[in-house]
C-alpha cells in the first residue's frame, strides 16, 4: 500500500507565503502563532498518516453493516481511529474558545481537514457533519440546547447529522414533508423518512444528534413552512446523562459507488410514538438556519475533494517513479521509469499543478472566512464575507469536479493496474465521485454563483477578485521570466470579466427565457471559467513567491517544482478554462430549443 504523507510543506507554503499568515494577527487568534500552527500541522499529519490512512483501503473493502435490529457497524478500526481523533482534541480546533474549542483560525482547521480527508474521506465525513451541527446550534440553538449538546459535540463524544433530503425533496427542499407535531411540554414528535443521511447511524460514538428539517402540521407550503428540529438518538436527561432510545431508526444503508466506510442511512422518524425533537431557532426559518451551516459545509466538501486529489497525486507519483517501461528519448535508456515519458509527465504535472492550485484557492477562501468573522473593522468583515459568498460555490464545485478528473488521471497513470481495485487508485476515483453531488450538486453551486451571488451585488465582489487577478498578472508581466504567465493570466481575467457581464445582463432581463433561463444556461460554464482563472491567479502568486525564494537561494527543489506547477497551470490548464467564455458567448439557443423527448 502507498503510505499517505500529508502535504505539510505545501500547506505551510500557502499559509506562510501566499496568505502571509504570520502578519494576519486577527483579534482572537493572538495565540495561534506560526510556530504553534506548524506544530499543529505536524501533529495532524501524524494522525492522518499513521492512524487514519492505513484504514482507507480496508474500510472500503469491508464497508458498513446494518444489523436486523437497525444498528450499524462501521469498518474495523474506524471507531478507534475516530476516538483517537476526538481524544486528541482535533474536533474542536476550529471552534471558538468561548464554546470550549481551541479557536484556531479557519485556515488552520481547513488545512487539518484536508489532511484527514486525504487520509480517509469516509471517516472524515463523520466529524464534518458534526461540525455542521455545532455551527447550527452555536448560531441558532437556545442557551439550554447549547449547554446540553455543544460540549459533547465539540469534544466529539457525540456526533451530529444533517437531515434534509427526502425521496421527493432533493435539490428542491421546499418539498420536505416530514411532520413535527407539537406536544404539551413544548417538544415535538417527528414522523417521516429522511434519505442519504451521512453517518446517520453508527457505533463509533455514544450518541448522535440529528438536525432535521420538518413541518408543523399547520405550516404553510414551501420554504416558509420548514423548521429545524434537534432529534437525539438517545434522549438526554437533565443532568446530561443518556436516557431512553428515541423513536428514530436506521431503515437501511445504501450500497454506494464509493465512501463505503461512511454509512449512508435512510432514517425513519416516528415508526412508533414519534421521535421526540426540539425546535432549533425560529419556526419557519429552518432552511435559513440550515444554510448557515451548509455554506461552510460546502467549503469543507471542496477541501475534501482536494484531500482526495492530493492522495491521488501521491499514488500516481509513487507508481510512475517505480514502474519501468519503454525507452526514454532523452536518455536513450530502455529501463527508464515511466515518469521519464513526457506524456506521463503531462499527467503527473497536470494532477500536481491542479491540486496545488485548488488548495491555494480553498485556503484563500478560508482566510476570508477568518476575516469575515474576526476582522476588527466592520467594513473589512463585510468585504470579506462578500468574497466568501462568491468563493464558496467555486471552491465546492470546481475543487470537486477537478478532484474527479485528477483521480481519474491517477487511474490512467497506473495503466492496467489502475483498474485493479487492490491498487487503490480506483477507490480514490469512486470516493471522489460523490463530492460533486452532495451538499448541493455542482449545478446548484453554479446557479448560486451566477444567480444569487452575482446578481445581488451586480458582480461587485467577483469584480474585486478579478481586479486582484489583474494586479497579479501585471506583476508577472513586469518580470522578464514570468511575462508569458502574466499575459495568459491577464487574458483569463479579461475573459472572466466579459463572461460575468453577459451573465449579469441576462440576470437583469425580466423575460424568463432571456433572463432566468439564460443565467441557468451560463451558470456552469461561468463557474468553470471562474475556477480556472482564480486558480491560475493563485499559481501566479505562487510563481512570484517561488522566484523570490529562489533568488534568495532558498530550498531549490520545492520552489523549482512550484514554478513548474505554476507554468503548467497558467499556460497549459488555464486555456482550457478560458474556452468557457466562447461557450457562453455562443448563447443558449440549442438549450432553449432542447426537447428531451425527441433525443
Amino acid at each position: 500500500m502507498i503510505p499517505f504523507a500529508a502535504p505539510v510543506r505545501d500547506l505551510r507554503f500557502v499559509l506562510e507565503e501566499l496568505l502571509d499568515y504570520g502578519s494576519l494577527s486577527l483579534p482572537g487568534f493572538e495565540e495561534a502563532s506560526p510556530d504553534l500552527v506548524e506544530a499543529v500541522l505536524e501533529e495532524a499529519a501524524k494522525l492522518a498518516g499513521e492512524v487514519w490512512a492505513p484504514l482507507n483501503a480496508s474500510g472500503d473493502r469491508q464497508g458498513c453493516t446494518r444489523r436486523d435490529d437497525g444498528s450499524v457497524s462501521v469498518p474495523d478500526g474506524f471507531s478507534e481511529a475516530y476516538r483517537a481523533y476526538a481524544e486528541g482534541g482535533w474536533n474542536g480546533i476550529g471552534v471558538s474558545e468561548a464554546l470550549g474549542g481551541q479557536g484556531l483560525p479557519e485556515v488552520v482547521a481547513s488545512s487539518v481537514q484536508e489532511m484527514l480527508h486525504g487520509a480517509n474521506m469516509a471517516l472524515g465525513l463523520c466529524p464534518m457533519l458534526t461540525a455542521g451541527a455545532i455551527e447550527a446550534l452555536a448560531h441558532h440553538g437556545s442557551d439550554e440546547q447549547r449547554a446540553i449538546y455543544l460540549p459533547k459535540l465539540i469534544e466529539g463524544s457525540w456526533t451530529g447529522t444533517m437531515n434534509l433530503t427526502e425521496p421527493q425533496a432533493g435539490s428542491d427542499l421546499s418539498k420536505v414533508r416530514t411532520r413535527a407535531v407539537p406536544q404539551e411540554d413544548g417538544s415535538y414528535r417527528l414522523f417521516g423518512q429522511k434519505i442519504y443521511i451521512t453517518w446517520g447511524e453508527h457505533d463509533a460514538a455514544e450518541n448522535i444528534i440529528h438536525l432535521v428539517l420538518a413541518r408543523k402540521p399547520d405550516a404553510p407550503e414551501g420554504n416558509r413552512g420548514i423548521s429545524l428540529f434537534l432529534v437525539p438518538k438517545f434522549l438526554v436527561d437533565e443532568d446530561g446523562s443518556l436516557g431512553e432510545r428515541n423513536d428514530v431508526t436506521c431503515a437501511s444503508i445504501e450500497h454506494k459507488l464509493g465512501i463505503h466506510g461512511s454509512p449512508t442511512c435512510t432514517l425513519s422518524f416516528g415508526e412508533n410514538d414519534g421521535a421526540i425533537g426540539y425546535l432549533v431557532g425560529e419556526e419557519g426559518r429552518g432552511l435559513n438556519h440550515m444554510f448557515t451551516m451548509m455554506n461552510e459545509a460546502r467549503h469543507k466538501v471542496g477541501i475534501q475533494g482536494i484531500g482526495v486529489a492530493e492522495r491521488a497525486c501521491q499514488h500516481a507519483f509513487a507508481y510512475a517513479l517505480d514502474r519501468t517501461q519503454g525507452r526514454s528519448p532523452r536518455s536513450g535508456r530502455s529501463d527508464c521509469t515511466i515518469s521519464d515519458h513526457l506524456d506521463v509527465r503531462r499527467m503527473l504535472l497536470s494532477m500536481r499543478a491542479r491540486t496545488d492550485a485548488l488548495r491555494a484557492l480553498a485556503l484563500t477562501c478560508a482566510a476570508q472566512l477568518d476575516l469575515a468573522r474576526h476582522a476588527a473593522d466592520d467594513a473589512e468583515r463585510a468585504a470579506a464575507q462578500a468574497r466568501v459568498d462568491v468563493l464558496i460555490p467555486v471552491v465546492k464545485a470546481f475543487s470537486t469536479d477537478q478532484a474527479v478528473e485528477i483521480a481519474s488521471l491517477g487511474v490512467q497513470v497506473h495503466g492496467g493496474m489502475g483498474f485493479i481495485e487492490e491498487t487503490g487508485a480506483a477507490q480514490l476515483l469512486r470516493d471522489a465521485r460523490i463530492a460533486p453531488i452532495y451538499e448541493g450538486t455542482n449545478g446548484i453551486q453554479a446557479l448560486d454563483l451566477a444567480g444569487r451571488k452575482l446578481q445581488r451585488d451586480g458582480g461587485a465582489a467577483l469584480a474585486g477578485l478579478i481586479d486582484e487577478v489583474e494586479a497579479t498578472a501585471a506583476a508577472l508581466e513586469a518580470s522578464a521570466e514570468h511575462i508569458e504567465l502574466g499575459r495568459s493570466l491577464a487574458g483569463g481575467a479579461a475573459d472572466l470579466r466579459a463572461a460575468m457581464a453577459l451573465v449579469l445582463e441576462a440576470g437583469a432581463d425580466p423575460d424568463p427565457e432571456r433572463g432566468a433561463d439564460a443565467v441557468q444556461a451560463y451558470a456552469t460554464p461561468l463557474l468553470s471559467l471562474a475556477g480556472h482563472v482564480l486558480c491560475a491567479w493563485q499559481m501566479g502568486r505562487a510563481a512570484l513567491k517561488a522566484s523570490a525564494a529562489m533568488a534568495e537561494g532558498r530550498e531549490e527543489p520545492f520552489y523549482s517544482a512550484k514554478r513548474q506547477s505554476a507554468d503548467y497551470a497558467i499556460r497549459q490548464w488555464l486555456p482550457v478554462g478560458r474556452a468557457q467564455r466562447a461557450v457562453i458567448e455562443a448563447g443558449m439557443a440549442s438549450l432553449a430549443a432542447f426537447d428531451a423527448t425527441a433525443h
Copy 2:
C-alpha cells in the same frame, strides 16, 4: 431497471445519410442492400435489448468466480446469452464469406457491435477478443491452422484471447519473457505467465484458443525476438474433436473497478510439461502479426465506449424526464421535470451531442476500413487505408475518454441516486473507465497519431481530412441558418492544421529533446484537438442533412433534435477542444524541466 433501446434510428441516419450507404456498392457487398442492413440492425437491436441488456446489472453484481480447480464461471445467464448470439450467426457477420462468415461491411458489423456493447459491455468483450483471433489467424495462420480453428471461432463455439501483457511488459511489449521451446514434432512448449487476459478462462464455450506472444530460447532481445503462438485450452485432434486439456491454467482472476462480468485472468503456461503451442506466421514477427488485429481491436474499443455512452444517455434522459424537482423559470410550474432546467439540459445535450458525434466519426472510420479492403481501385484502397491509420487512434482514445466523461455526467444528472449502485448509472462509469486503458492506453494512441502516423506521411492523410472539414465548414457558411456553425468549424480546422504543423516540425528535429520528447508532450493535446474537430465536422455534416430533411418535411422531431445536437457540438463543445491549440503553442518547458521526485 431502465431498458436499453439500441439506437437503430441514429445508426441508420449515419449509415444512410452521412455515409450514403446505399451508393457505396463495394465489390463483395452487393447483397448487403440497405433493406437487408435495416433488417440486420433491427434483429441485432432485439438481441441487444431483450437478451443481453437485462443481464448487465446482474452480471455486474454477481461477477465471475474462479474455483479451486482453476475453472472460471461467468455470471448467471451469460453463457446462454452468448450462445443466443453465436447461434444467431452474429459472430460471423463481419467475416468474409470466403472464410464462412456473412461478409457484411464493417460499417454494419460496427453498428451491431455498438448495440451489443451498449447492452452489456462485459459480455461484448468475449466476441470482441474472438474477432481479434479470427483476424490474426485469417491473415497469418497456415492453411491447416485456418482449416482447424477458423470455422469454430467464426461460428462462435470456440472463443479466442490475446495474450500480450506480462507483469514487466505492459505498454512496452519488447520486454515479453514467456518462453516457447521447440519440440521435435514442430510444435512448441510454452512456459510463462500472462496477465490481464480478457475472457482468458470461462465456461461459456467448448474451447478457448489463446494467441500468445512468446520467445524461442535462442531469440534475440527486444521486439524482433517475439513470435506469435496458438495455444488451445483443449488440444484439437486431427478430426477436429477435442482432445486433452493443455497445460494452461487460470491462476487468478482480477477484482476490478468495472466489467465485473468479464473474467480478467492471469494465465500460467507450462506449470507442468509446458503448454503445447503452434507458431503462427513468421518467427520473430509476432508483434507485427498481433498489431494486425490490434489496429481493428482499437477501433472496436472506441465503438465500445460509444455503446456505453449511448446507454448512459438513455439512463440520464429517462431519469430527467421522470424526476420532478424545482420550479421552471419558463413555465413557472413547481412540478416540472428536471429536464426543464437549463443546467440539466446542458448536461443531457452535452451527453447526446457527443455520443452522436463519436458514433458518426467511428462509423466514418469503419466506412474507410471497408474501402481500404474492398474498393476496386488500388489508389482508392491506399488512400482509405491512410485515413484509417490516422482515424483509429482518434476513434479509440477520443471515444473512450469522452465515454468516461459522458458516463460521469450521467451519474451527475441522477443527483444522489447516481451514487447508489442499484440505479445503474455508476456501473456505466465503472465499466467505461477501462476503455482508455486497454488495447494500448490513450497516451499510446496519442503517440501513435503524433509520432508514427503523422510523421511518416508528413501529415498528408490528416491534412486531407482537414480539407474535408473545411469543405463542410464552407457549405455551412454558405447557408444563412448555419453560418455560425460554419465559422466555428472553420476555426477548428485552422487550429488543427496549425497544431499539426507544430507537431510535424518537432518530429523533424533530430535533437531528442526538441524532437521526440516534444512530439510526446504535444501528442495528447493534438489527439484531443483532432477528436473535437473531426467530431464537429461530422455534426456539421449532420446539420446539413437534417436541414435538408426538414426542408422536405421529413420526420421533424428526429431532425430537429439532430440540429440541436449539432449546434451544441460545434458551438459549445468544439471551443473546449480548440483550446488545445493554445496548450501546444505554450510549449513543453514545464514538462521538460519536470522532476517528479521534487513534487
